[in-house]
Amino acid sequence: MALKYNQKANLQRIALLAPGVLLYGIFNFAPLLGLFWVSLVEWPGIGPMKFVGLDNFATLFGNAFYRDQLIKAFANNLIFFFIIIGSMLILGTAIALLLSFRSWGRNAYRIIFFLPYPLAGAAVAFLLEMVVRTRGPLNAMLKNFNIIEQPIAFLGDPNLALATLASFYSWHRMSFAIILILSAIVGVRVHLIEAAMLDGAKRWATLKAVVFPVLAPAFVLITVIVMVDVFNNADYTLILMGPEGGPVRSTDIMGTFLFRSAFGGSATSTSVNFGMAAAIGLFTALLILPAALFLALRNLRRKD
């Protein structure tokens, strides 16, 4: 039976989309639905599940002990996110711009900047922790040049720990931002730059008028991806500071709070609850969903 062209096209479309949808459906969407169910039960991870309805949410927002932790974790997470995205976008653009010019050793620099990215998070965490330790090389160097008297407790001071972890993250993932921004810069049509230069615009003005608008999609992409990663994962904090979230919970972010509710912290926890963790996860998703949608749609609308 000969298919009409439209039918064939539709079939083709479905066939091409099917693997992606199946993979996403099984590994992302189905667990998400399962998350709704788990947030309605009380379950310590072992033994039977007890249906408690919206009790987990009530405890999370009602009980001061949990609410305080939630607010603190979210505030910390926001600070964490802003430090990371600030450094990634600003430094990333600066480095990408430098890489886009015909500077000597450009390829070597590109390789060096990309080197941290494929490293495992745990490896990077331990490596950088050794660098900032009180007996580590960074403190030794600062002491050597008489910049400080006492070693700075980068990971021990509640005021510094979060920023230190944020810098670890940025160092690790910087090349991701650099590559995206660089490809956006390189995609700028050369004759536009030439036209701007002919009109007498200086280099900075050219950049501002011609190159930066093209970066907007890249910026949005980086922001969304980093936002989802930062709010959902907590590798550095968990590995280095444990599930308790470092010195007096100063590095406690949503990821560690969630982990602690599910599996217990280091201070001999007596009650853990996967349901509470699921509630926290849903709450996190709800919080970042509007921001992610807004950014993505805003960018789509921009396209002409």
């Binding site: 991870g45 982990f259 599996f263 001999t268």
Partner: protein, 414 residues
């Protein structure tokens, strides 16, 4: 046959032979590195017949999380649990541990509560009796001409002397949450709070905002203000604290006797290290003794018979003597057994003569709700040492936290 194929087949055959050397393998999870030589001896010498015991050791900070994750799949056949009904309660409620049939008649009365659940039944076999106190590097004190302080004034004088000599008087590894509540909180309480008052704290008749209890927090704060504690206390964890004392950079620390056992990593730093003990010389001046924990049987184990055999063995005199020999700690066995080690003799003497009878950290009444006493003390000391709360505020937070789930003293202590 080609040489490589021959080698491969031989290797495979050897591997098969090796794995079939034992009829059954039982997995034991623990946070205690010092147990590894003990179980290796028991396995290798086939004390329990054809059962091999594989010890999985997890860092103490991560133990609680890891055990819960692993119990969802194959996981341990046996695992060590921390003492007290509160810690056991989640495992009991989930049916992971069931009341045991092991004969516990030989266990010392002081340790028997370690395995007792909220319903009064025994769920595990207690293992060591531990002592927590001030542990000091004898060489450092001797080099500086300091005797063991018998009062807080003597302690302050000793600390001043040490500080002048460039040594950290007391090292704190405040990054480790479990150490803050189990060791610091309890040892300071045993040293500064009279036993009868501590008993009232547990029963709810006395409040944590009372100056008698606040003194424990205030003393630590005073130590910090006077510069007796390492400036990086919040960055250093339990391991860093022990390292510092082993290196001789610090003189004293609040720790348990397990750190002075033969397998302690402190001896890897200094094999000639000698350590001594004394209670915090406050109003109560007692050391803190407790049953460290229990051996628990995972009811979902696939090696039930072999695991039960191992569990029953841990309650016997033979095990107690192996325990003393290979772990270097006092076992929970109550009957007569030989102790030759002078250090252990000294510890046993201190426990018998001068240990606090009250253990708030393990008290079910204080730990059955969230936030538990343990969690509050850990957070409290963390806030205290990082300067974000005063001793009174910390005590208030502990009291409020306990009141929030209506502990036994909630009505009495507003």
């Amino acid at each position: 046959m080609k040489l490589s194929a021959l080698l491969a087949t031989t290797a495979l055959a050897a591997a098969l032979v090796a794995t079939s050397a034992y009829a059954e393998t039982v997995k034991l999870y623990t946070w205690r590195e010092q147990e590894i030589p003990l179980w290796k001896y028991i396995s290798d010498s086939k004390v329990l017949g054809d059962i091999a015991i594989e010890v999985v050791q997890v860092n103490s900070d991560d133990y609680d999380s890891k055990i819960r994750i692993d119990l969802q799949s194959e996981g341990p056949d046996l695992f060590q649990g921390r003492a007290g009904a509160a810690w056991l309660s989640s495992f009991v409620d989930a049916g992971i541990v069931k009341p045991i049939s092991t004969d516990l008649s030989g266990i010392a009365p002081a340790a028997i509560d370690a395995g007792r659940g909220a319903d009064g039944q025994q769920y595990g076999v207690p293992f060591a009796i531990q002592m927590q106190s001030v542990i000091y590097n004898t060489k450092v004190l001797a080099d500086n001409g300091i005797d063991v302080p018998k009062s807080m004034d003597e302690f302050t004088a000793a600390a001043d002397k040490l500080k002048a000599a460039g040594i950290i008087p007391v090292n704190f590894g405040a990054r480790s949450g479990w150490w803050l509540n189990q060791v610091v909180g309890e040892t300071m309480t045993a040293g500064l709070v009279p036993d009868d008052f501590a008993a009232k704290l547990v029963s709810g008749e006395a409040c944590f905002t009372d100056p008698t209890f606040v003194a424990t927090l205030q003393t630590v704060k005073d130590w910090q203000d006077k510069g007796y504690i390492n400036s990086s206390a919040m960055a250093d964890d339990y391991g860093a604290m022990r390292t510092s004392v082993a290196l001789g950079e610090s003189a004293m620390m609040l720790d348990g006797v397990w750190s002075t056992g033969p397998t302690s990593p402190m001896f890897e730093i200094d094999p000639d290290l000698k350590m001594g003990f004394f209670p915090v010389p406050g109003a109560n001046a007692k050391v803190y003794a407790f049953g460290d924990g229990t051996y628990l049987l995972n009811s979902a184990t696939k090696h039930a018979e072999a695991a039960q055999k191992v569990l029953d063995f841990t309650a016997t005199k033979a095990f107690a003597e192996l325990f003393v020999k290979y772990v270097g700690e006092l076992p929970a066995y109550g009957g007569e057994y030989t102790v030759e080690d002078p250090r252990l003799k000294e510890v046993a003497g201190m426990i018998a003569a001068n240990s606090s009878s009250v253990t708030p950290f393990f008290a079910y009444a204080l730990n059955k709700g969230q936030p538990s006493y343990g969690t509050l003390v850990s957070d409290g000391y963390g806030a205290l040492l990082s300067g974000s709360a005063s001793p009174e505020e910390v005590a208030r937070k502990i009291q409020d936290g306990l009141n929030s789930w209506g502990y036994v003293g909630a009505a009495n202590c507003k």
